[in-house]
């Protein structure tokens, strides 16, 4: 059976990291653009003698909101940086999923996807490299988006199973048959990512899949 080699896995992780940096940069840029226009509007109104207390309060509130959203992106990026540089110790799968979805919020909206999550309380730390987990989960979401070109929902459900963690990726919507030809090599990269995490990946038809993770010892 064909297996994905080190170069293919490295490329997959690098592509994932590049995609996440791109999404974060886009989102930060948008926050800065709103801030610049808000400040510009305050200046315009002041110059025109039209600045009122209500408008100023609204602008301050908007700026505060934008700063908060920019800080969230910075925190999420910091978490991603930690995951990409991790050298052992396992990882919190629920937090990793939260960071991933935070960065992918705009991407999901662009693809008319709503991503829901059901994460069981008290999941143990997962074993393996969190960068591989994030990369694999992202690739499975991209696969769902390709299967649902008209949009839909994807449910990520993580539960404790036996001695490990099971993460189900369940798309729902209107798939377009044959919309995207699936490359066996891509699926093999996905499986190899799961193997290198110490777990396994099972494709279940359409975009659905299950990742089984071992716990950290």
């Amino acid at each position: 059976m064909q297996t994905a080699d080190d170069a293919a896995i490295e490329l997959a992780v690098r592509s994932f990291a590049a995609a996440m940096i791109g999404l974060a940069a886009h989102e930060l840029n948008n926050r800065l653009a709103v801030m610049r226009e808000t400040v510009g509007l305050m200046e315009d109104l002041a110059r025109a003698g039209k600045a009122g207390a209500a408008g100023t309060a609204r602008a301050h509130s908007s700026l505060d909101d934008q700063v908060g959203r920019a800080l969230n992106i910075a925190r999420t990026l910091s978490g991603l940086g930690g995951a990409l540089g991790a050298t052992g110790g396992g990882f919190d799968a629920a937090a990793a999923i939260g960071d991933l979805l935070g960065l992918n919020d705009r991407w999901a909206r662009q693809h008319l996807l709503r991503i829901d999550r059901e994460i069981a309380d008290g999941l143990p730390r997962a074993g393996g490299d969190p960068a591989l987990f994030l990369c694999l989960t992202h690739r499975l979401l991209v696969r769902c988006a390709a299967d649902l070109p008209r949009g839909g929902t994807v449910l990520l459900r993580a539960v404790r199973e036996g001695g490990g963690i099971r993460l189900g990726v369940h798309p729902a919507g209107e798939p377009v048959s044959g919309a995207v030809a699936r490359e066996p090599a891509d699926e093999e990269i996905d499986r190899e990512l799961a193997r290198r995490l110490g777990g396994e990946l099972v494709f279940e038809g359409g975009g659905a899949a299950t990742i089984r993770l071992t716990t950290f010892h």
Binding site: H26, N30, A33, D44, H111, L112
Partner: protein
């Protein structure tokens, strides 16, 4: 010469706060501005009325800005389109220009630059329409069509 209030601008961007704030700033500069929040709404808008200049984002839910630009140029070839994007690639820029986009700006753009580009786009549109009319009146319908559709 045309007054700025006569320039009808449509802003298309899914970032609601950005687009509403920018619209207000452009109105303070006496432009006639409408806003919509995705490509489908933009196409519905231009099916009913024709703005002079559309300021169009690229990455939006559903239709990508490049697809929206393609459709605008098919149905309303006179309308000028300025791309204003936070994350456009060089490939996007080349494609937008190939499809007849007037200019390609990156967010956040200086308001004075954006206003200048809107005015230039409008001016070019007016000159093109007047040229096309002159050719048509001279009986040269083919050339008039080419100028009208920016094929020259």
């Amino acid at each position: 010469m045309f007054g700025k209030k006569e320039i009808k601008v449509l802003l298309v961007d899914d970032e609601v706060e950005f687009v509403t704030t920018l619209a207000e700033r452009l109105r303070l500069r006496e432009l006639n501005v409408d806003t919509v929040f995705d490509g489908t709404q933009a196409l519905a808008f231009i099916a009913k009325t024709e703005p002079d200049v559309i300021v169009l984002d690229l990455k939006m839910p559903g239709l990508h800005g490049i697809e929206v630009l393609r459709e605008i140029k098919k149905t309303r070839p006179k309308v000028q389109v300025i791309i204003l994007t936070g994350h456009g690639t060089d490939q996007d820029e080349a494609e937008a220009r190939k499809l007849g986009g007037f200019d390609f700006l990156r967010k956040p753009a200086e308001i004075d630059l954006l206003v200048r580009k809107i005015k230039e786009a409008f001016q070019e549109k007016v000159e093109r329409v007047m040229s096309a009319i002159a050719f048509a009146e001279g009986g040269d319908i083919d050339d008039a069509k080419k100028i009208f559709n920016k094929e020259e």
